[in-house]
């Protein structure tokens, strides 16, 4: 019984399956349009954000960790000192997402009734910082310090063997908060996963206030007024960041192979990798010719595809489906949004191309370290 459950969880957590599932479910959990919202309410998914829903989430997460703790393989990973913060991350992320969504739904209901959001108070009715705020801060601070000291007494900070440049551990992992980036290395070369994407993430995050032209929902929790914003942010945050961190920490073993949570980290596990470049698909498999020796000719298909993706698709969209959006946003904002959006989307696209077609590079010029 337990074994079947474990095997099911192992199976479901394979990136191919878990990523697809999460992505497919996501718009129903954070519905960006009316249509999704109707289904969300019909299936009563919005009940996730009630007290009962929160309790169920809590029980599921805790159940997973309890089950995991009893499993010899998962316990090893779970008990690594520096992995504990990730357990904390899972709980706090779940809790605060739940809490914010709960407040948003309460406010939405109030707004529907024509009332003000619950954060609203008479502007004349102010409180004094001393004592009202100072005391709250003080209590927060004390409680947090108690928590930190107890944690520090109970769990010694991890320390492994002294550094030895000759003995590379397998797997070698970056600190946990960078594991999302390290996970991207599976699908992209370091110049993209390690340099360009982090830069785009930082620039893109700074750009959020400048590209979001929705004036509503400032200063109170509300889902209804900012559905698309919540949806995009939550997808980037929960799936492309937190989910990848969890995969990178718990599920990546020796040689960066995937292991389900209850699988033994077998260093000899072999994964057959015969990934093929787009150029090989086109010239060798498609046209039955040897690869052209001219690099640019060889990669011309890749350049064409990438060019269409980056330069033609946004223009086409602006003329058709996203016409209204283009008019509302103006050319600069629209271009910027497209660059960021298309880069963000390129990750799932590349994942699926890899999983389904074993595609290695769309443009592959190792001679110039230029692989996409």
């Amino acid at each position: 019984m337990i074994e079947t459950l474990k095997n099911t969880i192992d199976y479901l957590s394979t990136p191919t399956i878990s990523f697809t599932l999460i992505t497919a479910i996501f718009p129903f959990v954070f519905p960006p349009t009316d249509w999704f919202d109707r289904i969300n309410r019909k299936l009563r998914i919005d009940k996730l954000w009630t007290n009962t829903g929160g309790l169920i989430q809590f029980i599921l997460i805790t159940g997973f960790f309890v089950l995991g703790y009893q499993d010899p393989n998962f316990k090893i990973i779970l008990m690594k000192g520096d992995n504990f913060p990730i357990v904390l991350m899972v709980y706090s992320m779940a809790f605060f997402t739940w809490y914010a969504m709960k407040k948003s739904y309460i406010n939405d209901a109030r707004l529907d009734e024509g009332k003000k959001p619950m954060e609203y108070h008479d502007p004349e009715d102010k409180v004094l910082v001393w004592p009202d705020l100072v005391y709250i801060e003080f209590i927060c601070l004390i409680l947090f310090m108690v928590f930190l000291i107890v944690w520090s007494i109970l769990v010694p900070a991890p320390l492994e063997e002294p550094a030895n440049p000759a003995a590379t551990p397998n797997p070698s992992k970056a600190p946990w908060y960078f594991l999302g980036l390290q996970e991207m290395l599976v699908y992209f070369d370091p110049w993209l996963a390690g340099v360009i994407f982090p830069t785009l993430i930082i620039v893109g995050m700074c750009a959020i206030p400048y590209v979001d032209i929705n004036k509503k929902g400032d200063g109170y929790y509300s889902f209804k007024e900012r559905r698309v914003g919540y949806f995009i942010f939550m997808y980037g945050w929960v799936v492309l960041w937190v989910y990848l961190i969890i995969i990178g920490t718990f599920f990546r073993g020796p040689n960066w192979n995937f292991f389900g949570p209850f699988e033994y980290w077998d260093p000899h596990k072999l994964e057959v990798l015969n990934n093929v470049n787009l150029s090989e698909y086109f010239w060798v498999i498609g046209l039955g010719q040897p690869l052209p020796s001219n690099i640019l000719l060889r990669e011309s298909v890749g350049f064409l595809v990438t060019g269409i993706y980056l330069f033609v698709v946004p223009v086409l969209l602006a003329k058709t489906v996203l016409k209204k959006m283009y008019e509302a946003y103006g050319p600069t904002r629209y271009t910027f949004l497209m660059i960021l959006g298309l880069s963000m989307l390129s990750l799932p696209i590349k994942m699926y191309l890899r999983w389904f077609f074993n595609l290695k590079y769309i443009i592959g010029i190792p001679e110039w370290f230029f692989n996409i």
Binding site: P85, L88, S92, F96, A100, K103, K116, E119, Y120, H121, D125, K126, V127, L128, V129, W130, P131, L133, V134, I136, E137, C140, L141, F144, M145, L148, S152, I153, V155, P156, A157, P158, L159, E161, P162, A163, N164, P165, P169, S172, K173, A174, W191, G194, V195, I202, C206, I208, P209, D212, D218, G219, Y220, Y221, S222, Y230, W237, W368, F369, F370
Partner: protein, 264 residues
């Protein structure tokens, strides 16, 4: 009048003494007016305005996460200073000093508080960002402060990352090796980055493994003694210094942008 004197509590006596008044400028804050003075007249408290809208002091609204991030920064600074008394950033001593910190130093949990606190600070800044997003508090006029926040978060990650190397154990050098290997692939500036071969004078490549950004980061071709010193200085002086400047801007801008956000 002896009866009046009896009513005056010890706190009032202290509060009305010339010494107290010279330090805090107001007596024990009892009346509304005194309480406002207590905040305005104190360099630490006057980060706050004297009065706030009611929702702004609710933990349910801000989750106290920005405040906790700052508090953790302070805790990490203090514990970090204590650690610096014992720790020597050399390949010879670093690892053993870390062991001594736990075994020889009285109350040897400073390293634990520092390490777990650092992990917590990463989490609290993330959660703070989540809260700011969920309440739409980045909307005008607070756009710039959001950008400052993003930089603060990046700096928090960098602080955590540079500190990771200092214990000089296997975990440390390999995590940092994996992390800094990326720099090799920086376009134009990394020895294995696209376009690096374009930066050449005739046959001489300007960008090679001993002149690229990774070399600048590590002070060498691999993580070694010089890297340890470099990361130590970055971790203890350079990044905190920059973070402090950005925090000052962050806090000042909260006030200048009209205080904490709220519904109109």
């Amino acid at each position: 009048m002896p009866e009046d004197k009896k009513k005056e509590s010890l706190l009032d006596k202290v509060g009305n003494s010339p010494v107290w008044k010279s330090i805090f400028r107001s007596g024990v804050p009892r009346t509304r007016r005194q309480r406002m003075y207590a905040v305005l007249g104190n360099v630490f408290l006057h980060l706050h305005p004297a009065r706030l809208p009611r929702h702004a002091v609710k933990v349910g609204y801000t989750w106290c996460m920005g405040g906790l991030s700052f508090f953790l920064f302070v805790v990490l600074t203090i514990t970090g200073i204590l650690l610096m008394f014992y720790y020597r950033p050399t390949v010879e001593y670093a690892f053993t000093d870390i062991i001594d910190l736990g075994e020889q130093v009285p109350l040897g949990i400073m390293r634990e508080i520092h390490r777990w606190g650092a992990h917590c600070m990463v989490l609290t800044t993330w959660l703070h960002m989540l809260r700011v997003f969920m309440t739409g508090s980045y909307k005008p006029p607070r756009e710039f402060n959001w950008a400052v926040g993003v930089i603060l978060m990046t700096l928090t990650l960098l602080l955590s990352f540079t500190g990771y190397l200092l214990p000089w154990d296997q975990l440390a050098i390999w995590a940092v090796t994996v992390g800094t290997n990326m720099a090799r692939a920086t376009p134009f500036l990394g020895s294995e980055g696209p376009g690096a071969s374009l930066l050449a004078i005739g046959d001489i490549n300007l960008i090679h493994s001993a002149s690229d950004v990774r070399f600048a980061l590590l002070a060498g071709r691999f993580v070694g003694e010089a890297t340890l010193l470099r990361f130590y200085v970055l971790h203890c002086i350079a990044v905190p210094f920059i973070a402090m400047i950005f925090m000052a801007v962050h806090f000042w801008r909260i006030r200048k942008d009209g205080g904490i956000s709220g519904p109109l």
